[in-house]
């Protein structure tokens, strides 16, 4: 069975690569999007976008950029989950859904165990804005600061204010609870806040990091961000060293330009500025976010994720069907994941190489 389809009908791989090359080469401003890929796949995809003078974006850019906006406007304090595991005597969990964004979070942080580095201590664990029933960790007594999603920005702001000794207008009981939490944060020796930008926005991350900056005036405090899906952090890192910029970068002028609005994938497609798209979603087969747009589309995804329309080429799942380098949340570093279920499917990089091999010679290299 062929692993490629055109409008839902099976075609040969050779024809698929040929067709994909035709679509991309004919476009004035092709978009390489999704980018749910391992590092080698991202390298190939970014070089392809550059060669075609198109643009690229990642499917979880919104989440990466929520953190990055804070980094590039104010700066950031970060550490690794493993450093939190061995040293954090206080962990502040921020926002709802953390276990959804990172299922292995509490295995990694091992909050039920004592700290190791800097001496053995029992941990204190605070969770602000957990979902109902979420703030349960085996073997750990979790102190909760309730906040609905709508209330969370205000509660974070109030907590930061109390850490800084500034007044807040809250009912006495709520203020007392916040004061106790602020006191706990200030008396931590090495405190770590854990958040996922997927559940927050930039202003909340900035509020949290502003508080961490103030805490560092007298003690040590830092943070562990939970990265976006589809190897968002790995692709962000790859994009940064290759182009200087994160995704949402275009090459229309022959050099990279980064603009979070201009090169956002859905906007490029819906406005008609992009006239062809290569959608890569090798981890999950997640579909493109744009709707009802008739654009020549090539999809690279795992078997079974073929859309009804356009060209589909099946690729392996990175780290599952083939050995792949990606950013590991548990170590906060690039790692090689060995294939657990090798399959005779092309890697993302191989599929892109096969497409590129079909370009006609008049395309500059």
């Amino acid at each position: 069975m062929s692993n490629a389809t055109l409008d839902g009908k099976s075609i040969s791989s050779e024809d698929a690569y040929e067709k994909a090359a035709e679509i991309l080469q004919a476009a004035n401003f092709p978009l390489v999007a999704g980018l749910g890929a391992d590092v080698a796949g991202a390298q190939a995809a970014i070089l392809l976008a550059e060669r075609l003078r198109g643009a690229f974006d990642h499917l979880a850019s919104r989440d990466s950029l929520a953190d990055l906006e804070v980094v590039r406007s104010a700066g950031i304090f970060v550490t690794t989950p493993n450093e939190a595991r061995v040293r954090a005597d206080l962990v502040l969990l921020v926002g709802p859904g953390l276990t959804g964004y990172w299922p292995a979070i509490f295995d990694r942080l091992a909050l039920d165990k004592e700290t190791v580095h800097g001496g053995k201590t029992k941990r204190r664990v605070l969770w602000v804005g957990a979902k109902r029933g979420e703030a349960k960790i085996e073997g750990v007594e979790v102190e909760t600061i309730p906040a609905t999603e709508a209330e969370l920005p205000g509660v974070l702001a109030a907590l930061r204010a109390r850490v800084g000794g500034r007044p807040v207008t809250l009912p006495a009981a709520a203020a007392k609870k916040l004061d106790a939490a602020a006191e706990a944060l200030k008396s931590a020796r090495f405190g770590v806040a854990v958040w996922s930008a997927a559940g927050l926005d930039s202003l909340m991350v900035e509020m949290l990091q502003g508080m961490i900056t103030e805490l560092n005036a007298t003690t040590r405090f830092t943070g562990v961000p939970i990265g976006g899906r589809g190897n968002a952090t790995g692709v962000l890192q790859t994009s940064a060293w290759m182009t200087g910029f994160p995704p949402r970068t275009g090459f229309g002028r022959g050099y990279p330009e980064h603009d979070t609005w201009r090169f956002e994938a859905s906007r490029l497609v819906e406005s008609g500025e992009a006239d062809a798209a290569l959608w890569i979603s090798a981890y999950s087969g997640e579909a493109p976010p744009w709707e009802d747009v008739d654009i020549p589309l090539i999809t690279l995804g795992p078997p079974g994720s073929a859309p009804k329309h356009g060209l589909f080429i099946a690729v392996g799942k990175p780290g599952e069907n083939y050995d792949a380098v990606e950013f590991a949340q548990e170590t906060s570093s690039m790692v090689l994941r060995r294939a657990s279920a090798p399959a005779g499917l092309p890697t993302v990089a191989e599929a892109i190489a096969a497409i590129s091999a079909k370009f006609s010679e008049d395309l500059p290299c």
């Binding site: 890192q237 290759m242 200087g244």
Partner: protein, 544 residues
């Protein structure tokens, strides 16, 4: 294919040549003038200077902290022009691709990235693999890692520490060991805000001095050619000349390399209590032949400081320009990224600039002092040509000094120094010396058998212009630069050592990672398969 560079002025201290000569190479290597054979290609380089490709011994070009700097400062590196055919991303500012192009353009063919954190080594190698043309090497950072500090606390044998050092260097694929503010990063995690040579890391009970001395010894024991590369305590602090002098004494005659020493050449003289102490430091270095240094010269302009000295970088945050930064408490060292602007009108910056030049000019032996700006900490590597020109002309230095705040000139000996570097000395410092420092036997020279990494410069009145745009550069015998333009990419190699050790340490480390992190140690591996042919290793021999 036999190639000849005909009639150039060859400056090659390693072979003692300083005069007009032909250079022949074939299959990527320098060869002796062949008898009875005409070259297949002939370049007339008469009137040009011919040197081996230059080697940068310390330049932060790759890795997680460098990448954080890129992401922190998008406003600092907007691109302005399209690239040429065949050189993808070559004009993408601050990209790995541009880095390779710009170094090649200046005639540099080997560059060492000096700060690879063991747990982030794969990331560093991925970036190095995307630096085209030049060969790369790296140094592994130890000295704030729990395994070592605990071993010192438990008074473990020197053999155990040597095995650990050798294993870590091998696993991370580098040229040797760097130690950055030994113990200081860990002390900072325990809320210390300053950390000197004899201060004690809480919980471990060991001093900075003990840490680097153990690593210095281990480096020698396992036969790594490059001596311990030390980033000392108290970087950038007024009066830190005392730290530098005491550290040299602590080396006790054993080989040690001190990084970016300009940042430690500060006295307390003058009304600002900040003066150049470069003469005292240079005198100490002249008297201690076991010591080598690189300067870490400051050049005026906007830049960003990138350092695994996280304590120091935290303290720098308040002076950041623009006011933002990244502070990363890593598994061991971590890092800090803080933007900064060196201004010629700023008293302190002008002292720093002068101190860097004084060190270059007062250290007598060019084999003891190396050419760096600690890129990008003192300034970007693209300022090297201006620095070469400053070293070669007292008149040019005098012109620059006229622009400094007047009180600066009273706090530096620079105005009184008339020394001018010769091309021979430039070649010693940037070619022959670095090769010796890292144990490279195949480069830094134009002798028979050396790799054909060659830079050809056209002399001109503007010395900086001459070094900025090489007339020709050959990498492994292939022409990659013509008239200052990179015409194509080649793939460089990654140089590494493989010191021997007792493999028993691996079992112990496996158990350590299982116990501490509940993780297989192999997750931090740098398998060649992961580099997908982008980083091809070449081995540098160890001494034993």
């Amino acid at each position: 294919m036999l190639i000849r560079l005909r009639g150039g002025h060859v400056v090659d201290p390693a072979t003692g040549v300083d005069g007009v000569a032909d250079v022949y190479f074939e299959d990527g290597r320098i060869v002796a003038p062949p008898q009875g054979r005409e070259p297949d290609e002939d370049y007339d380089v008469s009137g040009h200077i011919v040197m081996a490709g230059a080697i940068d011994i310390h330049s932060h070009i790759a890795g997680g902290n460098v990448n954080s700097a890129r992401l922190l400062l998008p406003e600092m590196h907007r691109s302005i022009r399209a690239r040429l055919d065949g050189t993808p991303l070559a004009t993408a500012k601050w990209s790995t691709f541009e880095t390779g192009r710009l170094y090649a353009q200046m005639g540099f063919t080997t560059v060492v990235e000096p700060a690879v954190a063991p747990h982030h080594a794969l990331h560093s190698h991925l970036e190095l693999g995307d630096v085209p043309i030049i060969d790369k090497g790296a140094l592994t950072v130890l000295g704030n890692d729990d395994f070592l500090l605990a071993a010192l606390r438990e008074r473990e044998s020197e053999t155990a520490i040597a095995d650990y050092v050798a294993q870590t260097v091998e696993a991370t694929g580098t040229l040797g060991l760097k130690c950055i503010n030994p113990g200081g990063a860990d002390a900072f995690k325990q809320n210390m805000r300053a950390f000197g040579l004899d201060e004690i890391v809480p919980f471990y009970g060991v001093t900075s001095r003990q840490i680097f001395k153990s690593l210095q010894k281990a480096t020698q024991t396992v036969g790594i050619p490059h001596p311990l590369h030390l980033h000392m305590n108290n970087l950038g602090i007024a009066g830190n000349i005392d730290t530098a002098l005491a550290t040299i004494d602590a080396a006790e005659g054993l080989p040690m390399h001190l990084a970016h020493v300009q940042f430690y050449a500060y006295g307390l003289e003058g009304k600002n209590a900040f003066s150049s102490a470069a003469p005292a430091l240079a005198a100490k270095i002249n008297a201690n032949k076991n010591i080598t240094v690189d300067v870490g010269a400051v050049m005026f302009g906007d830049t960003v400081t990138i350092s695994s000295d996280v304590l120091r970088q935290f303290n720098s945050l308040s002076g950041a320009i623009p006011k933002k930064g990244v502070i990363f408490d890593g598994d061991a060292n971590g890092g800090g990224v803080v933007p900064y602007a060196y201004r010629i009108s700023n008293y302190y910056n002008a002292i720093q600039w002068a101190a860097g030049l004084e060190l270059f000019l007062l250290i007598e032996d060019p084999l003891q002092v190396f050419f760096t700006t600690d890129h990008p900490n003192g300034g970007p590597f693209t300022t090297y040509p201006e620095l070469f020109a400053l070293l070669m002309s007292a008149e040019l230095r005098a012109q620059w000094m006229e622009r400094l705040p007047a009180d600066v000139l009273e706090m530096t000996s620079l105005p009184s120094i008339k020394r001018e570097y010769t091309l021979h000395e430039i070649a010693l410092m940037s070619r022959a010396g670095p090769a010796r420092l890292y144990g490279f036997t195949d480069r830094g020279r134009l002798g028979e058998g050396a790799v054909a990494d060659i830079a050809v410069y056209k002399p001109q009145k503007d010395k900086a212009g001459m070094f900025r745009n090489a007339a020709y550069v050959f990498k492994d015998g292939e022409n990659v630069v013509r008239d200052g333009v990179v015409t194509r990419y080649t793939k460089g190699k990654t140089l590494r050592v493989r010191p021997g050790y007792d493999r028993a340490i691996e079992k112990r480390l496996d158990a350590y990672y299982d116990e501490l992190y509940g993780l297989s140690r192999s997750i931090f591996d740098v398998p060649e398969a992961a580099l997908a042919g982008r980083s091809v290793y070449a081995e540098v021999a160890c001494r034993n």
